[in-house]
């Protein structure tokens, strides 16, 4: 005895594929960013927990991590926000040609960043099996590297997709917009990592 429908509102006029909070995948990206942010927060918590046990943080003998690679990485990743923001605006304007060019720029920055990250690993001056300090340093760096690499992969796939005829659909611009949002999370989560790896132990010397 399914109830007879009483028609009240016609929703066919509503547009489809909205940006930001009007898109389901935007909420999905926010959900995953929450999960990863909790992961980062817990890893920082572990860092401070291990630190709280030591008389001198960065247990001796301690060779401070070289600042060059890390600082260079931080500068370049912050600069990468410029093409990223422009790409986000282009997506909102549904400007496909600009989007393809700017996303290429973001990918270029991504490659440079991945190369610098390679140097960062051996500028830590410690192995992951030396002590808990070394382990947690490597853990923070590796965790951020997985985020950097996966987002680079996402951007690359999206870039290849918008070069195909699929690029004309509005859906792709919504994806590009959310991809740019996630890139902000990647460099946003790097800043505390940078401080904990490179600067906090130096404060205690």
């Amino acid at each position: 005895m399914t109830l007879a429908p009483a028609f009240t509102e016609d929703v066919s006029k509503l547009e489809s594929d909205g940006f930001g909070t009007l898109s389901l995948t935007w909420w999905g990206v926010i959900g995953f960013m929450l999960i990863e942010a909790t992961g980062f927060a817990l890893l920082f918590g572990a860092y401070f927990f291990l630190m709280s046990h030591e008389q001198t943080w960065a247990p001796q003998p301690w060779h401070p991590p070289d600042l060059l690679a890390g600082t260079l990485f931080t500068i370049v990743i912050l600069l990468s926000e410029i093409p990223n923001t422009l790409a986000k605006k282009a997506a909102l304007r549904l400007d496909l040609k600009a989007e393809r060019r700017l996303m290429a720029w973001v990918l270029g920055f991504g490659v440079v960043l991945l190369v610098i990250r390679g140097f960062e690993f051996n500028s830590l001056n410690i192995f992951w099996y030396d002590n808990a300090y070394g382990s947690v340093l490597w853990a923070i760096l590796l965790m951020h590297t997985t985020h950097l690499a996966t987002d680079f992969g996402d951007t690359l796939v999206l870039w290849l997709l918008i070069k195909t005829p699929h690029g004309e659909q509005k859906r792709r611009f919504v994806d590009a917009d959310e991809n740019a949002l996630y890139w902000r999370f990647v460099w946003g989560s790097w800043l505390p990592c940078y401080l904990l790896i490179y600067w906090l132990p130096r404060l205690f010397q």
Binding site: F127, Y129, D130, N131
Partner: protein, 182 residues
């Protein structure tokens, strides 16, 4: 289903699963009571070149890649103060155990007989101080120091100061008898 399923990885997983089943077998009792180390495997059966060494002792299979035996051996290595002469495998008064050189043979039964009967230049005989099962467990651990043991049967580190790279990272050293001229 059209999938580029990596068969190689699946095969590895299946193999790892199957051969895992006896890796963890715990034998608290060890071999039957009254068993002794075969007298035949004494140092003089080892001579350079030519003649083949004695056939491998059947018990080797129970100890060589058995995680429980290696872990007990690691504990005994510390308890019986082997560290005093051999350090953590790097050697000190006693010879290094992590390199591939074995003056009295690198096979597990030869190492067991080195422990049981002792060796000149200061290696004490542990027969009578340790049971045969403990001697074989020590031999299994000593073999793992030079990377001879499968990586999934070895613990990466001990709950002690980290003195060597993780055992799961040690590269397998080729086993070659040292020149007996020393």
């Amino acid at each position: 289903m059209s999938s580029r399923f990596p068969n190689k990885l699946a095969a590895v997983a299946l193999l790892a699963l199957l051969c895992g089943c006896h890796r963890d077998q715990q034998q608290p009792r060890g071999q039957p009571l009254g068993e002794t180390v075969p007298a035949a495997a004494s140092p003089d059966t080892i001579f350079p070149g030519g003649a083949t060494p004695a056939p491998l002792d059947p018990r080797a299979a129970d100890y060589e890649h058995n995680a429980y035996a290696i872990a007990q051996g690691q504990q005994l290595f510390t308890w019986m103060n082997c560290v005093g002469c051999h350090a953590h495998g790097g050697g000190g008064m006693g010879p290094a155990l992590m390199d591939g050189k074995w003056r009295y043979g690198g096979r597990i039964d030869q190492i067991a007989s080195s422990i049981a009967d002792g060796r000149p230049n200061g290696m004490p005989a542990w027969r009578g101080k340790l049971t045969n099962q403990q001697i074989w467990q020590l031999a299994a651990y000593v073999r793992s120091l030079s990377g001879q043991v499968r990586k999934d049967a070895v613990g990466a580190r001990a709950d002690t100061m980290s003195n060597t790279p993780p055992q799961t990272e040690t590269i397998r050293k080729p086993v070659e008898p040292a020149d007996s001229a020393q």
